[in-house]
Symmetry: none
Subunit: 431 residues, 2 copies
């Protein structure tokens, strides 16, 4: 076979072949490399088999300029990457001093002792360089063979992510020549779906220049809009496009992405801290998810102090002083209940802003009047508490995540003192 | 490369390589074939590129006894499978009568007329056999080349599924002899890492039979242990292995996996419902995550009614009646505080069991006395409230997830009235 592609991917793991899991790592790698303008045209997945893996490395290294190997770095007997690479290169395995020190430090930090199985993770092909792993035991490593740059990376997604972000992508970016003037600007969009957004741009900005390539990536829940230019001249055009897009999309454009995309909760928290305000949550059907999303962000205590998970009616009354009469007359999923929950949460916590959520997450519990997916939200501050009923069909988890995202977006819009109406207030309205 | 594997998979599609979608088709194929005892050891994914695809077919057909090709059967210009296969086999494309009739019938059924693009789907490598597609326009096809049986299948998952179920798997089953009786048993493990578990089995069950293959899959947070046998005789040995494993691992073995693996929260909830008990949560550093994990499970209201997210000291006193004196004397991350939080949560909610968590999630807020990763947990019921201090280093999110998992596991152990000590109570202890 000819040398047809520059970057190839080799994945190892029985679990990738026997149907136990779907491979999301290679999608992650592809997306991260796409940022640097690199496309992957071929990938091979093999089982945890030493000779198969070694043969594949030999073969692929003759086809590709760069080979990224993922998986097989663990401490167990079915992890073969280092051994296979050594075999393919015809070099011995040797204890790598830096890898060894990493393992010792890693064990020390966790208060455990280095066991023989872990020690295997320091045995690497002679002559390779280490790729640091800030959060796991398995270091990555990098070596040139057959004129092919080989990167070995861990299969644990969180470790792979950190290694890509901090080590591999920057190394690739440094190598990309200045001739390729690919510039990418990305924005986070919420409340407009991919096709809706595309239609909108098509209809309202019909003279969109060809030199500014439009790309979309559906996200959960934030969609990514990508503008790519490949020349200096196009950059000026892009600046104009961005100005027009901002006017067109208003608050549906949540933020420009610099570096790592922030979550919706992160944007809300930033704004709360900037304004010196605090938020509280009163959650029924989202069951703590909104509070959890907020408290995942470092420094969240500056904008969030208290959350109430009131799953039963009794707890809504007890924890948030919702009048039992309201619950018996209108039900838990009602305008009056969410408003009372929000007021209760503001009173009990002393926070400036509140989100209250009550709905039917399913799969059971729906009725003709209030089918699965019905949800009442209340949001705002003491002087301006609003509420709305939505219908969000889907699985329980998808429902919870989307409701949490809408709730946070509504608070973001309140904090931005924006009057314009979110698209989901029209499209997802119920009753 | 040698003929090392029997069945190989070739997938085509740019979307499989650029990170736009994750490939779930190959997992589907693998699971369906596993039922017939067939394992896939290698798969290759290439972009929609005619020459790349043709070269790959040529190469793989010399390696495998069976090659399943997925994707590239559509009507558009980037669908190349038939053309590539014809090229690899050095035969012409010809209109296949049966495929043509299928297309005509398919269009008739939908009240449309056959267009030139669709007609392309009847142009197949001369000499191939049709695999019927009951629900879509693209027929599959099957041909022998280089002594390799090649099956071309559609990329649309629903069409692939029907074709596998109705045509391909039955054909394979007919060919498979009764000798290959692959049986897999899987367990969820918590509190023992992959290397620790392997070491333990190695040390304590040294006479482990070779016919019972051991496999591990690191999960977050539950690890998967897999026992595979390939003969009737080995099944008896496996039964003995399982009995010995259960004794060895005790409550570290959370459950056998049947069908879809359950989360730790799901196991806790099942047990709560089984015993007619309820749980409440008082969360500081996990900020609602534990409540959220519980309420992700359908029917969670039967075991969970109330959760308290008390992020600040003031809220710990206000919502959970923690004595402010305790907070000022011992700090929020202390034995006395988590015990008071747990008691407060039990009193306020009327639940039977409580989890209380207070720790330093980081990245800021650590001190020499209480470094980032320090966490106090309290758990149990009114008559038996226990507490413990752990050190869980790592990123904020990894810390929160692992703490949530330990907290839920401790409740699971309480509900199971188990006296044995969890490994993490030793390995992750602090102070």
């Amino acid at each position: 076979m000819m040398k047809q592609t520059k970057v190839q991917l080799l994945l190892t793991g029985n679990e990738l072949l026997n149907g136990d899991i779907v491979d999301s790592n290679s999608a992650m790698i592809a997306r991260e490399l796409a940022e640097t303008g690199i496309e992957i045209k071929r990938k091979v997945t093999v089982s945890d088999d030493l000779s198969l893996l070694a043969a594949e490395i030999s073969h692929m290294s003759t086809m590709a300029d760069v080979l990224i190997i993922n998986g097989g770095l663990g401490p167990t007997t079915d992890d073969f990457t280092a051994q296979a690479l050594a075999q393919a290169m015809n070099v011995p395995l040797a204890q790598h001093e830096q890898a060894y020190r990493h393992l010792v430090a890693w064990c020390e930090q966790r208060g455990t002792r280095l066991n023989p199985a872990n020690l295997k993770q320091a045995l690497l092909p002679a002559g390779c360089d280490i790729i640091a792993n800030r959060i796991g035991s398995a270091v990555g490593f990098n070596v040139n063979h057959n004129n092919c740059e080989i990167y070995c990376t861990p299969g644990v997604p969180t470790e792979l992510k950190v290694m890509l972000d901090e080590q591999i992508v920057p190394a690739f970016t440094a190598k990309t020549t200045d001739k390729e003037k690919t510039k990418i600007t990305k924005f986070q969009i919420f409340g407009l779906g991919e096709s809706k957004l595309q239609q909108l741009i098509h209809d309202k900005l019909p003279d969109w220049p060809e030199s500014v390539e439009l790309g979309f990536r559906a996200g959960e829940p934030l969609l990514e809009l990508k503008l790519t230019t490949r020349s200096r001249a196009a950059e000026t055009e892009k600046a104009q496009c961005i100005t027009r897009l901002k006017t067109l999309l208003g608050q549906h454009m949540v933020a420009e992405i610099n570096d790592i995309p922030k979550s919706m909760a992160h944007h809300v928290l930033d704004k709360l801290i900037e304004k010196g305000q605090t938020l509280t949550t009163a959650e029924s059907c989202t069951g703590g998810l909104i509070a959890s999303l907020l408290t995942q962000i470092p420094g969240s205590s500056r904008g969030f102090e208290a959350g109430f998970v009131t799953y039963s009616n009794e707890m809504k009354s007890q924890m948030l002083a919702v009048n039992p009469q309201i619950l018996s007359n209108h039900g838990a999923v009602s305008r009056k209940t969410v408003l009372a929950m929000a007021k209760g949460a503001l009173d009990k916590s002393g926070a400036d802003y509140a989100i209250a959520v009550s709905g039917v997450a399913g799969p059971g519990g729906g009725s003709k009047e209030k089918p699965v997916g019905t949800v009442w939200l209340a949001w705002g501050n003491r002087t301006n508490l609003q509420c709305h009923c939505f219908l969000i069909p889907g699985t329980r988890l998808a429902f919870q995540r989307y409701v949490a995202a809408i709730a946070l977006d509504l608070i973001r819009r309140s904090l931005n003192e924006c009057d314009e109406q979110a698209n989901y207030l029209i499209e997802r309205s119920f009753k």
